[in-house]
């Protein structure tokens, strides 16, 4: 008879057992803020379609301190999402080769930051220019 009795360790609470996993779970948690913000935009979209009064009510609701507090947290979450997204993108994109050499990950990540800055500024200026 076999005396083997392989022991399988439980997985409970694994996400707290390594700082790397804590960062991973924080990254996943940013999706809660992203989702709620998209729903807030959806509400704005619906109110826009309903007419001027409804839309102004939506704008009014956005000035509520609770709303501003949420958006500050959501901004932090969105920035964390952006940083982690740009960091892993080179691992997901097909390997890029220039003149027979692979483009290093850092070059891809940096390029994304450059594009993001242009888009952020472009968006802000577009909204600002009344």
């Amino acid at each position: 008879m076999s005396k083997r009795r392989p022991y399988v360790r439980p997985m409970d609470g694994w996400w707290l057992k390594n700082p790397y996993y804590v960062r991973y779970m924080s990254r996943e948690a940013t999706s809660l803020f992203v989702g709620v913000y998209a729903l807030i935009l959806l509400a704005g979209m619906v109110s826009l379609a309903c007419g001027e009064t409804a839309y102004n009510n939506w704008l009014m609701a956005m000035t509520n301190p609770v709303s501003i507090g949420f958006h500050l947290a959501a901004l932090a979450a969105a920035i964390y999402h952006t940083i982690t997204w740009f960091a892993v993108a080179p691992k997901v994109m097909p390997a890029l080769f220039l003149a027979g050499k692979r483009v290093p990950d850092i070059a891809i990540t940096t390029t994304q930051y450059a594009i993001a800055v242009v888009l952020y500024l472009g968006l802000f200026c577009m909204v600002w220019r009344v």
């Binding site: 779970m25 807030i40 979209m45 956005m62 501003i68 969105a78 952006t82 997204w85």
Partner: protein
């Protein structure tokens, strides 16, 4: 033989949403949720007439649909997978419908509204 997964459908939407979230959301959140309410931006910036005419043109429609729908798919996908990470297995099918169903509604509603605007 192993069964082909349907994940590519959800993963593509997740990926598109993640890209939109990374390249636009930080500034969008700042504009709509912080700068405008606090008066950093003038109130006319997002005034009804301005946004309504923006939503009437095709670039505006596409933009609004993209920033509402795609981040919802990104979020739904991550939340659903996190349930597995957290070891929550009860009501798995219900959660699947809840997550992706919300994202689907969040796509169809703006789609219909934007076409009619």
């Amino acid at each position: 033989m192993m069964k082909r997964s349907n994940e590519p459908v959800f993963w593509s939407l997740f990926g598109a949403g993640g890209v939109v979230a990374a390249f636009l959301l930080p500034m969008l959140i700042f504009i709509t949720g912080i700068a405008l309410p606090l008066g950093i931006l003038p109130p006319e910036a997002l005034a009804y007439d301005r946004i309504h005419s923006f939503a009437s043109g095709w670039p505006g429609k596409l933009f609004l649909l993209a920033v509402i729908s795609l981040p919802l798919w990104q979020s739904a996908h991550r939340i659903f997978l996190s349930l597995h990470d957290l070891g929550i297995h009860r009501g798995r099918e219900f959660c699947r419908w809840l997550c992706y169903g919300t994202a689907l509604l969040g796509t169809l509603i703006p789609l219909i509204l934007l076409i009619r605007i």
